[in-house]
């Protein structure tokens, strides 16, 4: 519809995706100006090139991918002008809901705080991969493309992250003993 030149379709795509893009951007940089510029660029290009757009069945993936590329280019440019700011390659600034509330009232607080600790122990790249896979509901291939890594290492990043979280919920015998001892000593 949009490719045929319908501007309402642009507005629709924009209202569906702009906020998500903005929020993703905020995890990569705190510079809102750069985020806004990149979103503007992204959609302007979309308008300009709409006749040449291929059939994307997943516009969300296409937008995230192009947005990240524009954002990074912009951040590099900025850092060139501003000697005080350097581009940190791997930041992924995300606050998990678990840090603020108990998600599941049935589970013990113990498990929640362990889970929270595990989450915050994830590397920035793990956080990003998991975020794209689970919160943005993208496929492995798409996450890999966005992060510019192989599908194999993408799978590894994610499965290691999830395993580390799962293990805190069901610690193996040794780990469990350590935790028990810790609890015991801290209780004294």
């Amino acid at each position: 519809m949009f490719r045929q030149g319908n501007n309402d379709a642009l507005a629709l795509i924009y209202s569906d995706h702009s906020k998500k893009l903005y929020l993703y951007g905020l995890k990569l940089t705190s510079n809102r100006t750069v985020i806004e510029d990149s979103i503007q660029d992204l959609f302007s290009d979309l308008v300009k090139n709409r006749k040449n757009l291929g059939d994307t069945d997943n516009i969300h993936f296409y937008l995230i991918k192009s947005f990240k590329r524009k954002l990074q280019r912009q951040l590099q440019k900025e850092s060139r002008y501003d000697l005080n700011s350097k581009v940190e390659d791997f930041i992924f600034d995300i606050t998990y809901s678990i840090d603020h509330e108990l998600i599941n009232k049935e589970s013990a607080d113990q498990r929640m705080s362990l889970l929270s600790k595990a989450l915050n122990g994830l590397s920035p790249r793990q956080k990003e991969a998991v975020y794209l896979k689970i919160s943005e509901e993208l496929e492995y291939e798409q996450v890999a493309e966005i992060m510019e890594i192989s599908i194999e290492s993408c799978r590894n990043l994610i499965s290691k992250a999830i395993k580390s979280m799962k293990d805190t919920l069901h610690p193996k015998a040794f780990g469990f003993a350590v935790i028990l001892r810790k609890l015991f000593t801290s209780g004294q």
Partner: protein, 389 residues
Amino acid sequence: MDAEKYIDFNVTEDFILDEAFVSWVLHPGNEHDQFWVSFVHDQPEKETLIRDAALIIRSLQPIEPEVSQEQLDKIMIRIKNRDLPKFRAVHLLMKYAAGIALLIAVGGLIWLTINTKSKFPLEVVNTPVQKGKIILANGLVHEFDTEQTTIKQSATGNLTINNDTIKNLASEKKMEMNQIIIPYGQRSDITLSDGTHIWLNSGSQLSYPTEFLGKTREVLLSGEAFFDVKHNPEKPFYVITRELKIRVLGTSFNVSAYDEDVTAQAILITGKVTACKNKLFAQTVDMVPGERLTYEKSSENILKDKVDVKLYASWVNGYLIIENMPITEVLRKVQRYYNQDISTGEGLEKITFSGKLDLKDDISEVLANISFASSVSVSENNGTFNVIK
């Protein structure tokens, strides 16, 4: 959904990495709720796996920072008006030009114009006027004496001056020119029938048609005005001053063309315009945002340079931002704005002033600021100010 598939899931990860499962956890819905309830009922040994998986998925959900709809709308407006500069420039403008840049639709076409005639049919009233006036095409004159006057011209011919509406008398469709005269000490903002918004500075005159019927939209200006031109590629907008002719499709820019000044200037804020001398076969000059075009009356030369646009648009918001301007020029601006005589002593030409003058203050405060910043002395004698070195 396929229950068979999930029977083979033996570890928590299997569920966490299953798109349909994730989608259910994040967006639960009746139909899927039923599926999972009956699945757990049939496969009770999977319950722990499913609970853990759901817990982990939910704990991974971020708490998002604030992004307001307003912020998103602002970006959308800028996307629709593709040629506008990006936010950095706009933030600047919003501060200094009342946020108008957001309303502007801009066309990117540049056209070479050849002036066929040097004409400036505006009869500039040179005798000082005390009250603001609008002279209608039918000869009627309406006066106003508010310091800031808002004028609105509708396409139906109705004219509104500060909420008073004057009904259209003429019935036939023809180009009729109205002329607005703003005395020194007053300002006005005018909305034309096409939606173009113009801020007229003190001591300026503008002549415009009640309705734009021809192939072009033309207004005549003497003095200084800030234009926020409504985009219309079919009907280019021309600002014609005694010396310059500026062609635009839709943009915002400032024109200063007082008869008593030695130069006429146009400063482009956003969009693209072409300008040329108001002469036969004059060569045109393209302008890009941030550029100033200066016409030197004595040499008839046109010069172009880059300037800080906020310095030129600031008067629209009621203050003047000045950087390194000869103090005599600053005083001339102040004199116009307040309609007060200011006499100057010798040797002031070489002294410059930089700073921000709030035009809501009264003139003695403004002059006191200038005196302080530029080390000149100001005295008042029977309502006349005297500035000396």
